[in-house]
């Protein structure tokens, strides 16, 4: 049982690591702000999500597990919001899904 859980953890964390790597490459290589942001958020959201998922298999305390999920959700919120704000600034106030 524990071996299976460890394997699951390994797979999920490895996959998460891969997304982070891909996102970072995208951040460095993509041509303009918007596509860079796209790469970044995909990496953050998916990569972190997978890593959290992987770690959940190792959790014994449900409260700690809940905290981990909360970390992911807060990162999603912060990442999404900051991306919107940066995109807004990059477009010089034109519409980027933000109404001001």
């Amino acid at each position: 049982m524990s071996l299976a859980l460890d394997a699951l953890t390994f797979l999920a964390v490895a996959a998460g690591g891969f997304f982070f790597l891909a996102g970072t490459v995208g951040l460095l290589r993509f041509p303009d702000t918007l596509s860079r942001l796209h790469a970044l958020t995909k990496a953050d959201n998916l990569g972190l999500g997978l890593i959290v998922l992987g770690l959940l298999f190792q959790m014994e305390d449900p409260f700690a597990a809940l905290k981990l999920v909360a970390v992911w959700l807060l990162t999603l919120l912060a990442g999404g919001a900051v991306t919107q704000l940066i995109a807004h600034a990059a477009l010089g106030g034109r519409s980027a899904g933000v109404t001001t």
């Binding site: 909360a70 807060l74 919120l77 912060a78 919001a81 919107q84 704000l85 807004h88 933000v98 109404t99 001001t100």
Partner: protein, 311 residues
């Protein structure tokens, strides 16, 4: 150990970058990253209380403050690079700095082994404070006078900052009024994050007596939530002459003083607690203290009064 080596190199690298960066804004961003890495060092050094404070206050609030300042200063910062000192001064500064670093390295290596420590004394007396977190015991009992004076330092910084307001703005609200934007992203974030943040702040404050956390860390998160709300335009900062604000600011230190002075009568010394009630009394101090510190921190970020007072 490998992790520590990587962390140390990273911290020094980011620090070099914040010093070398041409753009001040970039340097400040570097400083925020630096602060978060230093918080990790504190975890490695088995000081989670400090790690929380560093992340929230040293990196978070200080970073926010500096980011705001660098945005406001804008172009003049870039222009000032023209005033860079000559090569000779740079060389002299580098020499002094290297000497200081080298001297400190030597001193670190010379620190005695085994190291002198007060940990056993802290442990031996902690029962009398009713607390389980030794750091909180130092802050609220053994060295309570430091904490009390430090809160006064915070308040004085605020008085000093307010005194910078132009006379016609005295009595106005600190900082600039941010326009409310009901559909804005920031508003959305603030609305979602505020309740969560306040819960986290209460949690961190509450566990402070037994686990890492306490009034300073909790207060910083409270302050951050308040700042977020004002940034999103959900709330304005209160005018500096409002009586309720003044009372909120002094509530913590006032209760601290009151219980401290009562210590003369009930425990035989200023800032002493009778053993049976120590934990309760400390809690009674900490609740208003957290609120006062949070208010002070938030107002320190907001700056001097910049809005016309309402007459």
């Amino acid at each position: 150990m490998a992790l520590d080596a990587v962390l140390a190199v990273l911290v020094v690298g980011v620090a070099v970058w914040t010093v070398a960066a041409r753009d001040t804004f970039a340097a400040v961003v570097g400083f925020v990253a630096f602060g978060l890495l230093v918080a990790l060092i504190w975890v490695r050094l088995a000081a989670p209380d400090v790690a929380l404070t560093e992340a929230a206050l040293g990196s978070g609030l200080t970073g926010g403050l500096l980011l705001g300042a660098s945005t406001r200063l804008g172009r003049t910062e870039a222009e000032a690079t023209g005033e860079l000192p000559g090569g000779l001064l740079q060389f002299a500064a580098a020499t002094v700095s290297v000497l200081v670093s080298a001297g400190l390295i030597a001193l670190v290596l010379l620190l005695p082994e085994p190291a002198p420590t007060l940990a056993p004394k802290v442990a031996a007396n902690i029962a009398a404070t009713g607390l389980q977190n030794p750091v909180t015991a130092v802050l609220m009992a053994y060295r309570a006078i430091d904490t009390l004076l430090e809160v006064m330092v915070l308040l004085l910084a605020l008085v000093g900052m307010w005194s910078l307001a132009p006379d016609h703005l005295w009595g106005g609200a600190p900082g600039r009024r941010e326009p409310a934007d009901p559909d804005g992203v920031l508003t959305f974030v603030a609305q979602v994050l505020l309740p969560v943040g306040i819960l986290v702040a209460i949690h961190i404050f509450w566990v402070g007596s037994v686990a890492p956390g306490g009034e300073f860390q909790g207060a910083t998160i409270f302050a951050a939530m308040w700042i977020l709300a004002t940034m999103a335009g959900l709330a304005n900062t209160p005018p500096v002459m409002r009586r309720s604000l003044r009372l909120l600011l002094i509530a913590g230190p006032a209760v601290f003083f009151a219980i401290g002075l009562a210590g003369f009568a009930i425990a035989g010394a200023f800032l002493a607690y009778p053993a049976d009630y120590a934990k309760l009394l400390i809690l009674i101090i900490e609740i208003p203290l957290t609120l006062s510190i949070a208010t002070t921190l938030a107002l320190l970020v907001a700056g001097p009064p910049e809005q016309e007072p309402q007459r």
